[in-house]
């Protein structure tokens, strides 16, 4: 498992999902998509684990329970994101006025 730095891009091994890391805990992070570990060179050729098959949505931010891991989905896919076995949840959109 790679250590994740903010800005790092990872691809799913089992679908078209791509993410960018926004925040990540220190050390190795077991970030998965569709049940399989994500990697910089994930080729999407594997099969989505049905237990992690709800899909990812472009532009959504996903966080773990304590908020120590946050990723941005930059390309949607059939697999859903998880930290180990624990599914990541969509972070609520903030309501901000338009400034520019």
């Amino acid at each position: 498992m790679p250590a994740l730095a903010p800005g790092k891009r990872l691809k799913s091994a089992v679908c078209t999902t791509e993410i960018m890391v926004i925040t990540a805990p220190e050390g190795d992070v077991d970030l998965r998509c569709g049940g399989a570990p994500m990697a910089e060179d994930g080729d999407g050729s594997g099969t989505v684990d049905a237990a992690h098959g709800e899909g990812s949505a472009i532009g959504k931010r996903y966080v773990n329970g304590d908020g120590s891991l946050e990723v941005l989905c930059v390309k949607a896919g059939d697999g859903s994101l998880s930290l180990g076995e624990d599914a990541l949840k969509v972070k609520d959109a903030k309501k901000l006025p338009k400034t520019d």
């Binding site: 532009g59 941005l72 520019d100």
Partner: protein
């Protein structure tokens, strides 16, 4: 680049940018493909920078995203600078891939550039390029944009914005694909300004169509807002003031589509924002404060707070209308004194900011961010108990008179309340007695006679309302104050002009010629003794030139007959007036050169003048205000 990739993937068929001048538009997918084709071209020529020297048009987002794709910094250059200033900046960004308008591109042929692309050809080629599989550069630490700051003193600094700063700003302030299909943003800030960059990136990420307004005028803005059914727009205070003035007499701005109007970039006069709130009753107003070095907005005063401030009797809440709001998510603000100690609410000090979007870095000068991540903005202000930030000039604007610190903004606010004052600037000038003396420059309301009587009245006006130390020792009257293009008062320039009046010499209007401009140029240079400062000869024909001579400056400009009014068309019964520091010396000079000129006289309105006739029979008058007490001669 990632932002555009997401936009193309999420809503590729939506229209991304519209250039109403040429009636052309580009979708997100087309923009993505064009950026890929341009990136290939940029890489092929070995450029280290992408330089953009042009007004708002469709080539701008193509070049911006292409530079990110190719992994080289994007450097927009202010096309309003003089030819020499532009040359100096271009030298600093070589080897560059330069995109500019067709006319400039033709005149730049043969320059040292990795590649020179004329805008229309650039757009045509890149839009024909088809889908690109060109490898993308992705490092968050790469430089995304280099922005030259306005550089009111010395050489412009190049602020460094890395991808991580820009992306962090967008992710914390914009929700992906949050714009409805019919939303459109009117972008009228220049593309070389941080607000222009931020508007481009935010709109792309939100999926909001951008309508590009190349040259701002209130009428053009109003027309575009109505015709393009604009839903959101950003303006600087001077723009809003002009829009409000252009709508004078109308009860309602009649822009039912305009959901939100944000403003920032300088101090917004409270009278302007109050009028605007009345004219746009359905529109959400947002005040945004930010800097180039912070990737744009860091504090926001939102629509609810605008309405609350208008509706309430509560003084603290209504005062917030003149604040710039509270820090954005992920941004921290701290006010510090001169020693760097944090100050409590209500106390004025230098604004410090911390956050992922804060760069604070300049090319070749390193970062101004301290070990704990704080960036000193050089802006001064204070926060109220609830964290609302009030701007109060620049940190180094503070006037220290006899050991007492005072803020010029407070004194300006009091002057502005006087009915005879249209605009005011207060600065500290060196004084042997006080260290610094409070000096005011006032632009009088139109039709108000200026002079000693008004100066005395204004001093008394301040004295009634403030401590006596705040009363200006001197009050000068100017026809206008120097502002930068986003409406920030250039206080340093005011100071420089007050200290050395020669700084104040500016040709009031250019002399317009349809006839023999070269003959007149020869007259001014050979006969009167002016020296040529600068001339521009597109197509081998003099378009304009700037002349100067010991405190006098004037400009000759070629014009089409249709451009000319009666005044400029050379009616000999009308004089043209130019500011001149030393009228008597100029007269001596004319005589020594054999130019017929009567001795200087003082006009009844207090100007010492010397007049000569030019070869076209026009009266050319050089003048300067007389000292107080000097008599008038009729």
């Amino acid at each position: 680049m990632m932002l555009l990739e997401m936009a193309a993937g999420g809503f590729g068929d939506r229209v991304a940018f519209t250039d109403p001048r040429v009636g052309d538009s580009i979708t997100y997918q087309q923009l993505y493909d064009a950026a890929g084709a341009a990136a290939r071209d940029i890489r092929a020529c070995g450029a280290a920078r992408v330089a953009m020297l042009d007004v708002s048009n469709l080539a701008i987002p193509v070049a911006l995203f292409a530079s990110g794709w190719a992994g080289v910094p994007y450097v927009p250059i202010n096309y309003r600078l003089t030819a020499q200033e532009i040359d100096a900046l271009l030298k600093r960004v070589q080897p560059a891939y330069l995109v500019t308008d067709e006319e400039r591109a033709a005149s730049f042929t043969g320059r040292e550039c990795a590649a020179l692309r004329a805008r229309d050809a650039f757009l045509e080629t890149t839009r024909r390029g088809g889908a690109s599989d060109e490898q993308r550069s992705m490092a968050p630490d790469d430089i995304g944009v280099l922005l030259f700051t306005s550089g009111t003193t010395g050489t412009p600094k190049a602020a460094v914005l890395r991808h991580r700063h820009l992306v962090s700003y967008i992710l914390s302030s914009v929700e992906f694909a949050s714009a409805a299909e019919d939303e459109a943003a009117l972008v009228c800030v220049p593309p070389y300004h941080i607000a222009g960059i931020a508007a481009t990136l935010s709109s792309v990420y939100a999926g909001r169509r951008v309508v590009q307004l190349a040259n701002f005028s209130a009428d053009a803005w109003i027309d575009a807002a109505r015709a393009e059914r604009i839903t959101t727009a950003f303006v600087v205070p001077t723009m809003l003031a002009r829009i409000v003035a252009a709508l004078e007499g109308e009860k309602n701005a009649n822009m039912p589509h305009l959901q939100s109007l944000s403003y920032g970039g300088g101090k917004m006069p409270v009278t302007v924002i109050e009028k605007a709130l009345a004219l746009f009753p359905e529109t959400d107003f947002t005040n945004a404060y930010g800097l180039t070095e912070t990737s744009s907005t860091i504090t926001v005063l939102g629509p609810e707070e605008h309405r609350a401030a208008m509706a309430t009797e509560d003084e603290a809440a209504s005062r917030r209308l003149v604040s710039v709001g509270v820090a954005m998510p992920g941004v921290e603000i701290e006010i510090r004194d001169g020693q760097g100690n944090p100050l409590p609410p209500g106390e004025r000090g230098e604004i410090h900011v911390r956050g992922e979007q804060v760069s604070g870095e300049y090319e070749d000068r390193g970062s101004l961010v301290d070990a704990n991540g704080w960036f000193p903005t050089r802006d001064a202000g204070y926060q109220d108990e609830a964290g609302y930030l009030f701007l109060d000039g620049r940190a180094d604007d503070v006037i220290v008179r006899g050991g007492e610190n005072m803020s010029p903004g407070e004194i300006e606010d009091v002057l502005l309340e006087h009915v005879a004052v249209a605009d005011a600037a207060v600065v500290g000038l060196p004084s042997e007695e006080w260290g610094e003396a409070v000096s005011a420059v006032v632009v009088a309301a139109s039709g108000t006679p200026v002079g000693d009587a008004l100066a005395q009245e204004l001093r008394a006006w301040v004295k009634q309302r403030m401590r006596s130390s705040r009363v200006p020792e001197s009050v000068a009257f100017w026809s206008d104050l120097p502002y930068n293009e986003t409406g920030k008062l250039l206080r340093r320039e005011v100071k420089a002009r007050l200290v050395d009046p020669r700084e104040n010499v500016r040709a009031a209007v250019p002399l317009l010629y349809t006839g023999d401009i070269e003959r007149s140029l020869a007259f001014y240079c050979d006969k009167l003794g002016f020296t040529l400062q600068n001339r521009w000869d597109p197509e081998g024909r003099l378009a304009w030139c700037l002349l100067a001579m010991e405190g006098a400056e004037l400009m000759l400009q070629r014009a089409e007959p249709a451009d000319l009014t009666g005044l400029a068309a050379g009616r000999s019964d009308i004089a043209l007036f130019f500011v001149c520091e030393d009228v008597d010396a100029l007269h001596e000079r004319f005589l020594s050169r054999g130019v017929a000129a009567k001795p200087p006289t003082v006009a009844f309105y207090g100007m010492r003048q010397v007049t000569v006739r030019d070869p076209d029979g026009r009266s050319i008058c050089f003048e300067h205000p007389v000292e107080a007490g000097e008599g008038f001669s009729r």
